[in-house]
């Protein structure tokens, strides 16, 4: 069986392609220096290949083996020489081209990257510039509250100075000028309403200032010109002014006690008539301790709320002040009652007014009146 297979295989081998004789097989075949299998394969190939058969035939007949070897070596070298440099050149070219491409791509990349970076930078700058005000605002915003804070304390300091000023001014009687005039009003204000008092204050203030200024100017003029008539007139005006000043200074010495009474008296009237006028009245309210001071400020803040119409907030703020048993507490209660009344809660308003009456303070009369009206 194996014999038959090998026989069949050999049959197929008839048509197996065999390569042409290579360079060292050819002379060896001619010299008969091939192995049996090799020789058989060569011969089998020679049957098919005309080229190999011709070559062998020619070499066998001509016998120019030396020339053949020389020429074949020469042609091989020639082929290698003609092919290799070209391929080497091609490789070099390809490499150079690739390198150039890479370089150009790199250049493009950096160019694009640079442009993109520049664009981004510009955009960021623009954004920054656009947002700068916004950024600055937060910085400015704290300033505004600070300014507000700075602005809001002044009333306090003003009031404090107002309160303290009379004393200082009273002590320094020599340098009495216009400022005292601002505080002088009490005498006329004692009888009139607070509004008229304020108006008069302003009027008197301005008048006094003008008079003083005019007097000073005229005095200077008169001194220079030494005109008798004018001088006398100037003296008259000065004389007129000076008594007032003197009176003012005289008043001030008694003021620390007097002013309080006057102010409170004015306040009672003002409160009974209108709430709006109260701040002015309360401004003058004297306070020794800081607790009372803060209570007064709270009270004033509540007043602001009340005037703005935010009654609920005002009430809640007044309520906090009810703990104060002093004058501020009484005022707070009174105002709370007023708020309740304006809100229409007459029951609560009555209770508050009654409380104020029970406290038997300065507001008793006003509270009683309000109760009667309710």
């Amino acid at each position: 069986m194996s014999n038959s297979i090998s026989y069949n295989e050999r049959l197929l081998k008839i048509f197996a392609g065999v390569r042409c004789l290579n360079k060292d097989q050819l002379p060896r075949y001619l010299e008969g220096r091939l192995t049996d299998i090799e020789k058989h394969l060569v011969e089998q190939h020679l049957v098919d290949c005309d080229l190999c058969f011709d070559a062998l035939q020619i070499l066998h007949k001509e016998g120019q083996l030396e020339k053949y070897v020389r020429l074949s070596n020469g042609i091989q070298q020639y082929i290698r020489d003609s092919i290799k440099p070209v391929s080497q050149l091609q490789k070099m070219e390809r490499y150079v081209r690739k390198a150039k491409k890479r370089e150009s791509m790199l250049i493009y990349f950096w160019l694009v990257a640079f442009i993109a970076g520049g664009g981004a930078l510009m955009y960021l700058m623009q954004q920054y510039n656009r947002n700068k005000p916004v950024m600055a605002r937060p910085a400015a915003v704290p300033v505004v509250p600070a300014a507000a804070m700075a602005a809001s304390p002044p009333p306090a300091t003003d009031s404090q100075t107002l309160q303290t000023r009379p004393v200082t001014l009273a002590s320094s009687t020599g340098a009495v000028t216009t400022p005292p005039a601002t505080v002088t009003p009490p005498p006329p204000a004692a009888n009139d309403s607070a509004k008229t008092a304020a108006l008069k204050k302003a009027a008197e203030d301005s008048l006094a200032r003008k008079a003083a200024a005019v007097a000073a100017a005229r005095a200077a003029d008169s001194l220079r010109k030494k005109a008798a008539a004018k001088d006398s007139v100037a003296r008259h005006t000065v004389k007129k002014d000076t008594p007032v000043m003197a009176a003012a200074t005289a008043d001030k010495t008694e003021k620390p006690v007097k002013q309080d009474d006057n102010n409170t008296a004015g306040k009672e009237k003002a409160e009974s008539s209108s709430n709006a006028s109260k701040p002015a009245a309360t401004k003058a309210a004297p306070s020794s301790s800081t607790v009372v001071d803060t209570d007064e400020y709270l009270y004033r803040a509540a007043m602001v709320y009340q005037q703005q119409g935010n009654l609920d907030e005002a009430i809640s703020r007044y309520k906090r002040l009810t703990a104060n048993t002093g004058r501020v507490g009484e005022m707070a209660r009174y105002q709370m009652a007023v708020c309740y009344r304006s809100k229409g809660q007459t029951g609560k308003a009555k209770r508050m007014f009654k409380e104020v009456v029970r406290m038997d303070g300065t507001m008793k009369q006003a509270a009683q009146q309000a109760l009667d009206n309710l």
Binding site: L12, I14, C20, N22, Q44, A55, I58, L71, I75, K84
Partner: protein, 167 residues
């Protein structure tokens, strides 16, 4: 690279030279047949006094190179042989290579046998065909073919056996 290319078959080298424009593959292919080309050209060099090895081979190789790019080559040995012969017959003319009918049939059979290597049925049909063909031969021819192909006898042995002389 050169070593790798020299291991490739003619067909692959031709394909490389044509499709990839691989000059190295072309060089390897021409180198493979260069010694046979030289052997063929020896009589021409000897007989033609004007023919010079320095001019003959480069022009012949150039023609082969051109033919490799344009012509479809099934069998490299036949192509080289035919190109060389046409070159000597008409040195000025570029006669394109065209494989003969027999060569094409032979190539077809070779391809068929190669493809049937793993196909048992195809193999069997081929074997029966060959056996039938052998049976169709004269006894003398059949003896020679069987001795040569199947018993691996050499030409010299067979010639001596039959009393043939190389003339």
């Amino acid at each position: 690279m050169y070593q790798q290319l020299s291991n490739l078959s003619d067909k692959e080298l031709i394909a490389r030279a044509r499709k990839l424009k691989d000059r190295e593959a072309e060089g390897v292919l021409l180198e493979r047949y260069s010694h046979l080309l030289v052997a063929i050209c020896l009589p021409a060099l000897k007989n033609n006094a004007g023919a010079n090895a320095q001019t003959l081979f480069p022009s012949l190789l150039q023609r082969l190179s051109n033919g490799l790019k344009t012509q479809s080559i099934q069998k490299a040995s036949e192509w080289v042989h035919q190109t060389a012969r046409t070159y000597f017959a008409h040195p000025d003319k570029q006669i394109p290579y065209y494989p003969s009918r027999e060569a094409r049939e032979q190539l077809h059979t070779e391809n068929r046998v190669e493809k049937a290597a793993s196909n048992t049925i195809e193999k069997q049909t081929l074997i029966t065909q060959i056996q039938q063909a052998l049976a169709g031969l004269s006894t003398d021819d059949r003896y020679l073919v069987e001795q040569f192909y199947l018993e691996n006898k050499t030409f010299a042995d067979l010639a001596a056996q039959k009393g043939y002389t190389p003339d």
